[in-house]
Symmetry: C2
Subunit: 124 residues, 2 copies
DNA sequence: TCCTTATATTTAAATATCTGCATATATTTT
DNA sequence: AAAATATATGCAGATATTTAAATATAAGGA
């Protein structure tokens, strides 16, 4: 039951649902998540970790980058069902479409550069 | 997305999962929930309300009693799927079996009587 | 080895959640 | 109408969650 609660808590947050939404598209590094959702490095990293520890994500290292993806194969029991439900529940949301749109333009430029771009855009 | 988060939050609590577990057996009034889970009236009522407002439950009045049940028919979209997943995830839990066992012995005696019985049992 | 850089983590403050106690509300009975 | 009773709710304290800012860690390159 504890594990199931952990899963539900992981899903009880808008930022994390937005992250799952873009990871349903493709594997991402932290700074791509930052760009797609337009959020800070801390926030991206922390929430990715929560999803990872709940069991939703796979993490692999590529040099300096941490790459996260939805761990469809490593999922046990009800976990895959849960992802299915999430996928269905998130259909047709405007904000999530916007995130996916930004994901298409995202690049592996690193968080410092991404943060700078973000600041410039905000001030513009 | 807000609604979906509300659902997930409703599921992110042990007391509420225990409540769903017994409601999967049958419709209950508040004081039966108290007896089955061995919890206070406030706690039972509060958590039933959370589940109700999230959309999991149906509520009907019978005199003084509020009767709650899982609203399988009134459920839309992914809600039924979610209950399915919950049901699967809760299988084989010792504590939940214990709750169901106590539910079998529970009666509609009202919270004040239930609370008294509870206090006596604790002091015994 | 030192520097740069992508990510993780610690800390602190703001906010949300959960529970018990006391009380309010609503329905039935007298 | 008053009393009894099942449930709901306002409030306060304890605990948990979320975030940004600063700092730590770890990998690659000069």
């Amino acid at each position: 039951m504890k594990d199931f609660i952990k899963l539900c808590k992981a899903l009880s947050d808008e930022t994390r649902l937005r992250i799952l939404n873009i990871l349903l598209e493709r594997e991402c590094c932290v700074c791509e998540v930052m760009q797609a959702l337009d959020i800070s490095q801390t926030r991206a990293s922390r929430n990715l970790t929560v999803l990872y520890e709940a069991g939703f994500l796979r993490r692999r290292k590529d040099g300096l980058w941490s790459l996260y993806s939805i761990d469809r194969d490593g999922m046990n029991e009800y976990l895959a069902d849960l992802v299915q439900v999430v996928d269905k529940a998130l259909q047709g949301n405007k904000r999530l479409e916007q995130d996916r749109e930004r994901l298409r333009k995202a690049v592996r430029i690193g968080p410092s550069c991404a943060e700078k771009m973000r600041r410039e855009k905000t001030n513009a």
